[in-house]
Structure formats: C-alpha cells, structure tokens
C-alpha cells in the first residue's frame, strides 16, 4: 500500500514537471514575442487604425394620402476595386482587362474602352486597394456590372467593392416639390425645407455605428459583427396630398401662368370638413414659359389680399347688425375721397344705389368702405375687434416651417391713420398668406368651424401607425349661423351674377370671391410713380356650394399680358381644377346610371382590394368582396358578376402575384425581403417560386410579365 502511494506521488511530481515545462514554454514565448517580433508588430500596430463609423439609417418615405411615394430614398452605389486581392493574379487580370474595359465603357459611356483599360492597368501596377471605378451608379447598372469579367468573380476573387448609400428621389419630380421638401444646396450643413425639414426628426431615423479597421490605402473594413449597432430606419410620413389633385392643380396653374407670362402663382386645395390639404402647388417663372417649384408662396407669402378680404368686413358688419343683405348703399359714380385720398371702383361710372349684397357681389370698393366707415367711423377699434374675433389674425401653426405672419393692425398701432379704416375694409393695409385666407373661407364652407390646415395625417414605422394627426379646430364658430348663411348667399352670388360669372356652370355651383389687388412695390408704392402697376389676381371659394366638399384658392402674381382681374386670371384655374375634381369625385355626385347594359365585364389586375372595388364602383359595377377585410384581392368572374376573392398575404410565404401589376407584385415580394428580377411588361403571368412556399429574406425570385394576358380569372364552371 505504502509502495503504491509512493509510486503515485512520484508520478504526480513527474506530471508537475511537465506542467512546469509547459508554463515555461508559454512565458518563454511571451518573452520571445516581446523581444524578437516587437519591431515588426509595433510597425503593424502603428498602421492599424480603428474608428467608429456611422451606418446611415434609411430616411423614411414621404407618401401621398393613399401611400403613393412622393419622396423616397433609393440606394445608389460607388464602385471601387481592390487590385491586390489574392486570387486576382496578374495573369487573370491581363486576360480579362480588355473585355472589362470594353463593357465598362459600353455601360457608362463616359470613357473609351482604351481609356478604361489604361486606367485599370495603371491602378493594377500601383497596387491600388481602393481604386474608384465609378460613383453613384443605379441598382440596374450594378446588376449589369456584376456580370462583367473579373467583377463576376465577386468581392474576394474579383476585388469588386460596392459601397451603397442612399439618394433622395422625388418620383413625381416637380409635383408639390417645395411642400414635400428637399435638401437645400447649402454646402456647409444639411438643411431640409418643406415637410422634409419639419419632420426631419421622424424621417431621419437613428444612425447605427460600426467599428471599422483600416486596411491599406484608405479602405476600412468592419472588425466583426459584434461591433455593430444596427441603424434604425426613419419613419414614413403620410401626407394629406392627393397626387391626382396635385397634378391637376399644378397643370392648371402652369397653363395659366404661361398664358399670362405671370411672375408666380399658387393653388391650394383643401378638404372642407377636415382641413386636409389635397394639393398645394407653387410655381415661379424661371425663364420663358418655364416655371419651377421654388418658394412656398401659399405658406410664406403674406401680402395685401385685396377684395377677398371684403368677406371679413361684411361678416363683422353683419354680425354687429350694422348692415343686412338688402340694406341700400350709395356707391354714387364709383369714386369717393377719404381724407383727400381717392378710392374708386373698377367699374367706371359706378353702380349708383345698390343693395349691400350687390356691393359684395360686384366687389364695389366704394360700397364696402362706405358700409364700414358709416358703421365704425366713431369706434374703429370695434371693427378691428370684430375681425380679431373671427380668429384670422394669428398664424395657423402649420406642420411646415416658414409660415408668413398675418398683419391686421389695431387702432393703437403707430401706422394707424384716418385712411386705415376704409382701406382695411377693402383688403389693403393688412396682410395674409393665401393659406390663411383659404382657411378663413373654408370656415364659411364648414358652417363656421375654422379648422387648421392639415398636411400630414400619419407617421408610420414599419407600416404601423405610430402617430396620427387629427383635424384641429381653431375656432368652432367664427360667427352666428345666420351670418354664415348670408355669407354663403353672397359668395354664391359672386359666381351667379357678380364678378365671377365666368365660373358659372349648369352642373354644380361654385361659391367664392374674386380679388384683384395692386401690389405695393416696396418704397415705390403702388406703381403710381412711373413704374408699371403690378397686379395680383386671386379667387378663393368652395364647391359644390350647397354641400361643400373642397375649398380652393388660386393666386396669380404680376400677369403681363393685359388681363389682371381675379376672375379673368385666377378664375379659369379654379374652374378647371374644380370641374375635374367634381367629375372625378364619386363622393360628390351620383354614380353613373345603372341601367346601361354592358356587353362584357372589363378585366382588372389583381391588387389592393379597395382599389379594385373603387375601380368597379366607378364603372357602375358592383364587385362583391368575399372578405371585406382582405387587403389584397383577385377579381374573379362568377355568373356574369365580379367577385373579389381575397388573396392571403402572410410574411414568409410566397404570395400568388400572377395577374397583378408590376407595382403591387414588387411591393408584395419586396415586403418579404425577396430580390425581384423582372422580365417583360404588363401584368404578371408567372413567378419562379410557387405560391404558398416558404421563402426567406434575400431569396431571388423572377416574375414574368406580359401585356396580352387576361388578368381576370374565369371561374371554371362545372356544368360547362
């Protein structure tokens, strides 16, 4: 027993000796590295650098009211090349460089093949590790580039370095550009205007961080995946803008501006009950017949409104009982002097004695000022208080920066004079922006409730609503219902028998007011001293007059072709937009009569259920939704009527996109993270992954489109 124990102990010490030798070897190795590899390693350590880099978060989208993209971030790519990657030998390079140069030249068309070849050779010889081939190429260009010789070998074998970044794009180009916003050209810092600026916090997201180490000449590679902080992509902004109305407004405005060679103009369309801005167009002349969205006149330009302001004067006087629609007013020969200053009506010779209502409808300056002066001469502050009570002297507090200040002075103001009362009553010596004026008129249409203009209704994160903006009421009742009713009558009268009879039509009724203002040219006043008179023609109103759906303002500045009356220059724009809007809004008028016999039911692509429903509804046909909650549907013909068969869409499951249009199909597939390759045009006829199959992010799918295909499905009838 003792013998065994002794033997065991001896062996233990032997093992300990082994461990000791191992330990000495390790420490010896440390000493060896420290003394003999020091120089080489310290040199390497000197070269290596580490840095945190921001990982760009994708800026959120700005969408129209139905989710159509108005501004979005699209990836673009910088292409660089590592000439020294291991398997890109000189031999491989020599064999392929000519055809690579040729294809690069063909793709970008910025250098000749031989230029490309020489540059590539030079880069190869100088052993460049980060040679710039081309900046800012698009995704389709990248896809093609990846098939080129050498590059098709990929990152490690071909040295292809692709650096993605994002570029802001407005799919509808100039449409509502100033309101949607963009990054201003200021070099020193990023400044966004419009909604881009106001909602920048929401849109920009949170940049991620990535630890990178430097390799070779200026190239950085990530240390590892551990050292990465994922970026949080920006939220999407859902605006109230309707892209169709916007397009309509912008085109109508442009046409008139060109016709008048006007300096600039704006159109704003608002939904009466909600204050939602459906369209906001601003155009400025930048050259002969060339106009651009450059400044947000509708929001920012606070100027003397002129005759459109008379509505405020009348409301105050009506509310105070100083006048009624039938009160007779002496306008004489259309001229009157206040404290020696002459005021005249545009209608030469005057109207004589007319009713107050006619004063408004004919926009008589003399009549309006007479009513106000007679009523408030002794107590002008009461008139101003009446205007303040309407609530039009405050800024609206919009979801966009740069709103102009309304300026309605009171009697204590140092610029108040004996002339102020009569001139304010006809819209001078005060200032308002087009949008503020529209908000005021909208309140009349909305039976007295003044609502704040709404530009953005929702903020979405990953398709979910994270914040919604409701209509805000500024003043629940700007005046008594009786006064509202009278105001409506007068506004209707303007179109029916007043200054804007050119807007009259037999189909529906428009109510509104014309405005023709002379524009003060700073110090030079109103062009009396030699300078040419500048005019501003406007029309603001709403329709259909009986049950208003939309309100709209049109302002056109400095027309140069002779016409300058509000009705003549702003009126046609108003009418064109209103006519089209009326014709295209099924909510406003009755649906097409149902007794027409349709020879056959037209087909529709599969897509969003609501859109298809609306489409068939528009055609006067009833498409029956099998599941009224389904988001996606496929119209199917059953017994001569259309049924909308719900299309199930589940994350991670390949949907059936056949029969859909490109937009819907790509949207659905990319939602699942699939990389979509597209062939042909029309609607989808086949997809490379069967529907119902499990799919994972990054998987590739090919869809083939064809024009001739019949999109509508025919239910196979068992009896036929």
């Amino acid at each position: 027993m003792e013998e065994a124990k002794k033997s065991i102990l001896l062996r233990v010490y032997l093992v300990y000796l082994g461990i000791l030798l191992f330990a000495i070897a390790i420490m010896g190795r440390v000493v060896y590295i420290q003394s003999f590899e020091s120089v080489k390693l310290m040199e390497q350590a000197q070269k290596q650098e580490l840095n945190w880099f921001d990982v760009e978060a994708i800026r959120g989208n700005i969408c129209s009211d139905d989710g159509t993209l108005l501004a979005t971030s699209v990836p673009i790519f910088d292409i660089r090349m590592d000439m020294c990657t291991d398997s890109l030998t000189k031999e491989v390079f020599r064999r392929n460089v000519d055809s690579l140069a040729y294809r690069l030249s063909r793709l970008f068309r910025d250098r000749t093949p031989s230029q490309y070849r020489d540059e590539l050779w030079e880069a190869k010889k100088s052993r460049a590790r980060y040679y710039l081939i081309k900046r800012n190429i698009t995704y389709p260009e990248l896809t093609e580039l990846r098939t080129f010789p050498i590059f098709r070998r990929g990152k490690y074998k071909g040295g292809l370095i692709v650096i993605p970044h994002y570029q802001r794009e407005l799919p509808y180009k100039d449409l509502a550009k100033r309101t949607i916003g963009y990054e201003s050209k200021d070099e020193s810092n990023r400044v966004f205007v419009g909604l881009e600026g106001f909602f920048s916090q929401d849109l920009q997201g949170l940049a991620g961080k990535r630890l990178m180490r430097k390799v070779g000449s200026g190239a950085w590679v990530p240390v590892d995946l551990d050292s990465e902080l994922e970026p949080q992509n920006g939220d999407d902004i859902i605006t109230t803008i309707d892209i169709n109305i916007q397009d309509l407004a912008e085109r109508a405005l442009l046409k008139e501006l060109i016709a008048d060679s006007a300096d600039h103009g704006c159109v704003v369309v608002m939904e009466v009950s909600t204050g939602s801005i459906k369209a906001i167009a601003n155009l400025k002349r930048v050259g002969r017949d060339r106009y651009e969205e450059d400044y947000n006149y509708a929001v920012g330009e606070s100027t003397e409104p002129g005759s459109t302001f008379k509505l405020a004067s009348f409301l105050v006087a009506l509310e105070d009982g100083k006048v009624d629609l039938n009160t007779l007013v002496e306008t004489g020969n259309g001229e009157i002097k206040y404290s020696g200053r002459r005021m005249s009506d545009s209608h030469r010779g005057g109207y004589g004695t007319i009713t107050a209502r006619e004063v408004f409808e004919k926009s008589s300056n003399v009549g309006t000022s007479q009513i106000i002066v007679n009523a408030y001469e002794t107590e002008p502050q009461k008139f101003i208080d009446g205007i303040y009570k309407l609530g039009i002297h405050h800024q609206l507090g919009l979801q966009i920066s740069g709103e102009g200040h309304p300026n309605i002075k009171d009697t204590k103001n140092k610029f108040w004079s004996k002339l102020s009362l009569p001139w304010i009553s006809i819209g001078y010596e005060v200032a308002m922006t087009p949008l503020q004026l529209l908000t005021f008129y909208n309140a009349i249409a909305n039976n007295g409730a003044m609502v704040k203009p709404l530009l953005v209704k929702e903020i979405h994160r990953n398709g979910q609503v994270v914040k919604s903006f409701d209509t805000q009421v500024i003043n629940p009742s700007i005046c008594s219902p009786a006064t509202i009713a009278k105001a409506k009558l007068m506004l209707l009268g303007v179109v029916e028998e007043g200054t804007a009879t050119n807007l009259k039509n037999p189909v529906y009724k428009i109510a509104g007011k014309t405005g023709t203002a002379q524009v003060a040219q700073g110090k030079e006043g109103y062009g009396n001293r030699g300078g040419k008179v500048q005019y501003k023609g406007s029309f603001v109103g709403f329709f259909p007059a009986e049950n208003p759906k939309y309100s709209m303002i049109v302002v056109i500045n400095n027309p140069k072709k002779g016409k300058y009356y509000g009705a003549a220059i702003a009126g046609p724009v108003f009418k064109e937009v209103a006519d089209q809007l009326y014709a295209h809004s099924p909510e406003i008028h009755y649906a097409a009569s149902k007794d027409t016999v349709y020879p056959r039911i037209p087909s529709s692509k599969a897509g969003k259920r609501k859109e298809i429903e609306l489409l068939y509804g528009e055609l006067g046909m009833n498409a029956v939704s099998v599941n009224p909650n389904a988001l996606w549907a496929r119209p199917t013909l059953i017994h001569e009527s259309v049924s909308l068969i719900p299309e199930s869409v589940t994350r991670g499951i390949m949907p059936d996109v056949t029969g859909m249009g490109l937009k819907d199909a790509v949207y659905l597939l990319e939602q699942n993270g699939l990389h979509v390759t597209i062939k042909g045009k029309g609607s989808v006829v086949s997809q490379s992954i069967m529907s119902g199959k499990q799919v994972s992010r990054g998987e590739k799918v090919l869809i083939v489109l064809d024009i001739s295909s019949k999109s509508i499905h025919k239910e196979e009838k068992p009896e036929a």
């Binding site: 233990v12 390790i26 420490m27 440390v30 390497q44 580490l50 551990d226 050292s227 902080l229």
Partner: protein
C-alpha cells in the same frame, strides 16, 4: 456570517488564489467588454462587470457548499452521474443551442440557463476514473481488470463530446490519460492507446478533408490547423486574431499599459474569453502575465500537497485529476493567446467572462477543497476512516 467564515476550511492558499484570480477576472472583463457593452447594453459598461461579479459570488457560494460535502460521496455520485451524462451529451449533440455552429450548449428549461454539457461530463468522468483507479489498485497493472475498466468510459464520453467540441474532448482525454498514468496503469497500454488515438485523429482529419459535410465543425478545425501549420498561406481573418494577440503582448511590455488602457481589446474578436491572457499582458505586462501563470502553478502545487496529505488513493487521484484538468485548460488558453497553439476556444478558468463555466470551475475547486477539509479533520482526530471506507467493497 461569522459561522460562514469559520466554516471555511481546507487549504487557505487555494481560497486566496481563487480570490486573487477573481479580482483579475473582474478587472480584465471590465476592461475588455467595452465594445460588447456599447453594442448590447447601450453603453452601460458596468453591466458586464456587475454580471461577472454576481456570477463569481454565486460561484464562491457553490465552492463553499461543495467543500462542505464529504468527498467520499463523490465516488458514489460519479457512478450515477456518468450514466446520466451519456443521454445529456446525446441530446446536446442533436438539439443543442447552436453557438458558433457547434452544438455545445444545452438550455435548462424553466430557469433558462444555458450550459455546456461537456462541463458536466468532464467533472463526472474525472471523478469516475479516480474511483475506478483507486478501487482497482491491487490489480492495476493488468490489462483486463486494470486498464480496460478505466479507459472504456473515457473513450465513450470523449467520442460523444468530440463532434461538437474537439478541443474539450482532446483536453479531457489527455487529462484522463495523465490520471491513469498517475494511477499506476501500465505505461505499455497507455503508449499503445496513444498510438491508436493518433491514428483516429488522422483518420478524422482525413474525413474532414474528404467529406466536410459529414462533420459540420470539421471545416473550422481544418482552417484553424491549416492556419497554424501553414502560417504564410493562412487566410487573413485567422492570422488577424493571432497578430492582434501578439500586438497586445508586445505593446504590454514588461510592466503593461496599466489597467483599462488596452487598445487591442477593440481589435480582438473575443477579448473577454479566448484572448483574455493577451489583454492581461497588454495591461499588466510580462509581470502581470507571470503572476497569473504562477497563481495557476501554485494552485496545482497546493493540489498535489493535498493529494500527498490525503490518506486514501481516491482523494488523491480525485484532487490531482481535477486540479490537472483546470490548470491544463488554463495553460492551453494561454498557449493560444501567445500563439503557441492553434485557436481552440478554451476559456481561462475563473478569469474569462462566462456564466455556468465559471460555476463548474468553482464546483471543481470545491471538490478539491472538500478533500483538503476532510484530511484536516481526520488528521486532527488521528483516525484514518477514509482508508477503511474506501476499501470496503460496499462503498465502491
């Protein structure tokens, strides 16, 4: 509390070494988790320090509990434990949580703690081998009754660990062989086994090269070994780690950059586990590295002293076996950090950041201290109960 302190028995030096190593652990983990904290805890750099502190505290408690248990019970426990280990390893192989492609981890349901089943297997196997060897001392030189009963479980367990975790299986195998050598098994048979083992490893590598799909981990092994042998052709990613560790060692110099000043922690992929020894040298220099090394050597020396004093063979073999396994793993980790060995993924016991692996280390130390504690009590009483008990067939 007073009772608790008074009840701490066993080798005082080992207790002190554990405390010093724990302090090193806290400092090194705090210093090397900056990046991880930045990423996962939103910059809360104290998060991992607190976590490690709590884990070490719990480990200390486990160690205390284990050392109170009479070590002879471990002999019986080894039998049951080893049998239970086999299905555990099988389950891990088939369905373990996939970390770094290796099925090493098992999640305890309900409390949701993951642990490496090989840690459990390691402990029970060493216990079992110690038990078999001590029981068969009379006929230990024989092949059938001495060698076979000891080697059989070793081969089974190591084969089960091997597919998922080559290095742990290898270290465990070597530990058991060393233990058998100490336990007086005929060297002839051990040499023969080594030969067979060599052939097996070569065969395995052959399979790995020919049919990499058969063994999912084989590509990693192949790469690591290729890189180590053939340094010039190594892929930049693998040599990168080695180079960064070397830079850490060089920049540490004799006295180090001082605590918390490591810059290499940002370049090294897992500074808080695999390469923590390199970070220690960077911050505390050759001196600090030597101190850590000495701590492990002293630890093993104290274990041998316990084995020496211990009256029975089981206690001696148990403590030396466990002690060797611990120190050997530590040396392997350090050898990797100084690029004497290819990258293995072995942690530095007690120092590397970790959860359950630290607890298993503490349990191991607790068992060693249990042997030491018993010996103290028994020498005081002048009886040799231990020997008597061990030789009783019923106890075996």
């Amino acid at each position: 509390m007073f009772d608790f302190v008074r009840n701490i028995k066993g080798d005082r030096v080992i207790w002190i070494i554990v405390i010093i190593l724990s302090i090193f652990s806290l400092l090194a983990v705090y210093s090397s988790t900056g990046l991880l904290a930045y990423k996962k805890q939103g910059g809360d750099t104290e998060h991992y320090l607190m976590r490690q502190f709590i884990i070490l505290g719990l480990g200390f408690f486990l160690m205390y509990v284990m050392h109170l248990i009479k070590y002879t019970y471990y002999s019986r426990l080894a039998q049951i434990g080893l049998i239970l280990t086999i299905p555990l390893l099988l389950v891990t192989l088939i369905s373990g949580t996939n970390l770094n492609e290796a099925n090493r981890w098992l999640t305890v349901p309900i409390i949701n703690i993951t642990f490496q089943s090989s840690d459990v297997a390691k402990l029970f196997l060493i216990m079992y081998v110690a038990r078999v060897l001590s029981k068969n001392q009379e006929k230990i030189k024989e092949f059938k009754r001495g060698f076979l009963p000891a080697i059989f479980p070793v081969i089974i367990i190591c084969m089960l660990i091997l597919p998922a975790n080559f290095s742990t299986a290898a270290i465990l195998f070597v530990t058991c062989i060393v233990l058998m050598f100490i336990g007086r098994v005929n060297v002839k048979y051990i040499m023969a086994l080594m030969g067979v083992g060599m052939v097996a490893v070569i065969l395995l590598l052959g399979i790995a090269v020919m049919a990499p799909n058969l063994l999912p981990r084989s590509t990693t092994w192949k790469n690591r070994i290729e890189n180590f042998i053939n340094k010039d052709n190594a892929s930049s990613d693998e040599t990168y780690q080695v180079d960064q560790a070397k830079i850490a060692i060089v920049s540490g110099g004799i006295l180090g950059k001082s605590p918390g000043k490591s810059t290499q922690r940002n370049f090294l992929p897992h500074p808080y586990s695999d390469f923590i020894f390199a970070i220690i040298i960077e911050e505390y220099g050759l001196v600090g590295g030597t101190v850590v090394m000495l701590l492990y050597l002293i630890l093993f020396f104290r274990v041998i002293r316990i084995a020496n004093k211990c009256p029975g063979n089981f206690g001696a073999l148990l403590s030396v076996g466990i002690g060797f396994s611990l120190v050997f793993q530590a040396l392997i980790n350090m050898a990797v950090a100084v690029s004497l060995f290819p990258v293995t993924g072995q942690t530095l016991p007690l120092i590397s950041m970790g959860g359950t692996s630290i607890w298993f280390t503490c349990i191991s130390l607790g068992i060693i201290l249990s042997v030491s504690r018993r010996t103290e009590i028994e020498t005081k009483n002048g009886t040799e109960v231990d020997v008597l008990q061990e030789n009783q067939p019923a106890m075996a």
